[in-house]
């Protein structure tokens, strides 16, 4: 049937595109129409349904911090997704409480998305509230000073720039906190 494509270029082009577009459309345009949780911001008031909370949009400072996170390529070494793997929920949990699995509705306002592909460093999906600003500052100056053996690069130009540092830390503190899951809430308490 497709052997006509051996000598007819127009037929070839049509066939190659049709085959491509079947999968292309069914896997890109259709899924968000079927699964509406992809576009509905997280909100839960009933503890019986898991952690409560509400997703909010980032403010200007947090967005600036996010921009720094993108600029410095933090996302090449850090993912932002607690996967449906038991070890993920345990490892990224806190004081004996498992981290809730990441769900699409927690990322509705994210653009660009920062799910990441590589964990050279730990996942940061639930890092918000884990450390205070002083910790982050010391860490960015030279991570290995704080965590011996770390291969995270130093970021002195951020640590020494109060505006950038505050913005980046403010952003990190928002991560994963749409869901209110930390037992004593966080370091702030």
């Amino acid at each position: 049937m497709l052997s006509k494509a051996d000598y007819s270029a127009p037929f070839f082009v049509a066939a190659a595109l049709v085959l491509f577009f079947i999968g292309g459309l069914l896997t890109t345009v259709v899924p968000p129409l079927i699964d509406t949780s992809w576009s509905k911001p997280f909100e839960n008031n009933d503890p019986a349904n898991g952690p409560t909370g509400k997703l909010r949009q980032l403010n200007e400072q947090e967005l600036k911090g996010r921009q720094i996170y993108i600029r410095e390529g933090c996302w090449y070494c850090h993912t932002q997704q607690v996967r449906t793997i038991l070890a993920d929920t345990k490892r990224y949990g806190w004081r004996g409480v498992d981290a809730p699995v990441s769900t699409p509705d927690e990322f509705v306002y994210d653009s660009p998305h920062l799910f990441g592909t590589k964990r050279t460093g730990p996942d940061l999906a639930r890092v918000g509230g884990k450390y205070n600003a002083q910790w982050h500052k010391t860490h960015f100056k030279n991570p290995a000073d704080l965590v011996p053996g770390s291969i995270m690069p130093p970021f002195p130009w951020i640590a020494n720039d109060p505006q950038e540092l505050d913005a980046l830390v403010a952003y990190l503190q928002t991560l994963g906190r749409a869901k209110n899951w930390r037992p004593d809430n966080d370091y702030e308490k």
Partner: protein, 476 residues
């Protein structure tokens, strides 16, 4: 007599056709320019590659210079290798191969030269952007928007040139390489638009899904088809043996056209994306074995009884080891998409091991093989040194294998440790240090491969000037 029969079958054209017309109709200026640019970037970006590998061993290396931090050099490395080296070299080879398979000149050398200038502008601007941290935040689609537009324009110029050459062709039947070339032009256009433009109108998981469709198909529907286009042309050519089966190449091509695009979401397995989409993507990922095996079987069967040629022939060495790496990568891919395996290897150092086997081990090997074959011909001379060519092969092979194997072992071990939450994360970092050191040394070997390859080609080109006169004199 036998030759005549062979030409009946489209599968045999690349071996037989060159005898039928005069090589001298080809100017090859565009191909020459793309060869020179791509190999230059291969060398420069190779230095960046070694540097970022070194940063895993010495994290503070050049650590106080913002422009040289890991997070800015990594996209430079990835984009530089993909678009500066590999795609540009693939384009050079298409500018070389397509006119030959059509029996006519390239439609327009002027347009080709303009494409090359635009391409170099894109790559050089990309270097500046990455060092400055102007990054859009999507993997493989980091380039600033303005440059994305330039890429689209360049691609249209490239595609138009190829398609118009094909429209003018003398041979009615199109050899499989031409299908792959056309497929690459068409699919890339849509895949690129999805990853760089459609993503702008979406957020969150929806956007990630489009991004992974692009990332996956940047390899699956750009580098794979153009790589196979090269392999299908140069394996028969370099071994002077007709392709084993035309039918098998058809099966491979059309199954690739249908199956590949479904599998993007396997980058989000276990992640925040709908379960049913994960299931679909796993099923199609396993189906990828069909197009892969069809192509690989065809190449092996072509070489049957011809393996001894590998000893003497630098191009064939690269081609056939590339085929083996292609088979291995494409076996790994579907395996990673099984949930049990994915739970161990995903997000670990295994993945760069896998990715490098695809893009370096398979597709760069094909491109290098094509370059070794085509450059002496477009410059009408002989390769500067076969011995040096063999050196480059062994350096790439040893470095590549060292790189892949250590990262698989290390990555598997890393994933194993991660799945035991009692092990603190930092211990899993420290445990991998020997792996990263070994990887750095493999990187030195690979860089040695780049240097010997680039030098050999450079010396061939420079040497060609004097010789060109001789050949002309001989012809007169």
């Amino acid at each position: 007599m036998q030759k005549e029969e062979i030409i009946q079958d489209a599968g045999e054209i690349p071996v037989a056709a060159s005898a039928k017309y005069n090589e001298s109709i080809h100017e090859d200026l565009t191909a020459k320019l793309f060869f020179i640019s791509s190999i230059t970037y291969f060398f420069i970006v190779g230095i960046i590659a070694v540097l970022i590998a070194a940063k895993f061993v010495m994290p503070t290396l050049l650590g106080t210079v913002p422009q040289l931090t890991y997070g800015r050099l990594r996209p430079l490395h990835v984009n530089g290798m993909l678009f500066g080296w590999l795609l540009a070299c693939d384009m050079a080879l298409m500018y070389y191969v397509v006119p030959r398979l059509c029996g006519v000149k390239l439609w327009s050398e002027k347009l080709g030269v303009a494409t090359n200038i635009l391409w170099n502008f894109i790559i050089l601007s990309a270097v500046v952007s990455f060092l400055m941290g102007w990054n859009q935040g999507w993997e493989y689609a980091e380039l600033p928007f303005f440059l994305d537009v330039c890429v689209v324009i360049a691609w249209i110029m490239f595609g138009a040139n190829l398609f118009l050459t094909i429209a003018n062709r003398k041979y009615q039947t199109m050899y499989v390489t031409l299908w792959y070339a056309m497929g690459t032009v068409l699919w890339t256009a849509f895949v690129y638009l999805t990853g760089n433009f459609a993503t702008l109108f979406t957020t969150g998981v929806n956007q990630a899904n489009l991004n992974w469709m692009y990332v996956h198909n940047a390899v699956g529907l750009i580098f794979t088809p153009v790589g196979l286009a090269i392999a299908y042309y140069f394996i028969p050519k370099a071994s002077n043996t007709p392709l084993y089966s035309h039918k098998l190449s058809m099966i491979g091509f059309w199954s690739l056209a249908f199956v590949y695009v479904w599998t993007g979401a396997h980058h989000m397995l276990h992640g925040p994306i709908s379960q049913w989409l994960q299931t679909i993507t796993v099923v199609f990922s396993v189906m990828l074995l069909v197009p892969v095996w069809a192509a690989v079987y065809n190449f092996f069967a072509t070489m049957q009884g011809q393996w001894h040629q590998l000893r003497e022939n630098v191009s064939l060495k690269f081609l056939m080891s590339g085929v083996v790496f292609y088979l291995l990568t494409c076996f790994q891919g579907p395996m990673h998409s099984l949930h049990v395996v994915n739970a161990i290897v995903s997000k670990t150092d295994w993945i760069p091991g896998h990715a490098h086997m695809a893009v370096l081990g398979a597709f760069s090997f094909f491109a290098i093989a094509g370059t070794y074959y085509a450059v002496p011909r477009v410059f009408k001379t002989n390769l500067y040194s076969t011995a040096l060519g063999n050196w480059s092969f062994w350096l790439f092979l040893v470095g590549g294998l060292g790189f892949f194997v250590t990262l698989w072992l290390g990555g598997f071990w890393q994933g194993w440790q991660w799945n035991n939450p009692a092990i603190p994360f930092i211990d899993t970092v420290v445990a991998l240090k020997p792996v990263w050191t070994f990887r750095l040394f493999s990187g030195f070997f690979m860089f040695g491969g780049i240097v010997t390859f680039a030098y050999n080609i450079l010396a061939t080109i420079i040497g060609a000037k004097g010789q060109g006169v001789e050949t002309q004199a001989a012809a007169a």
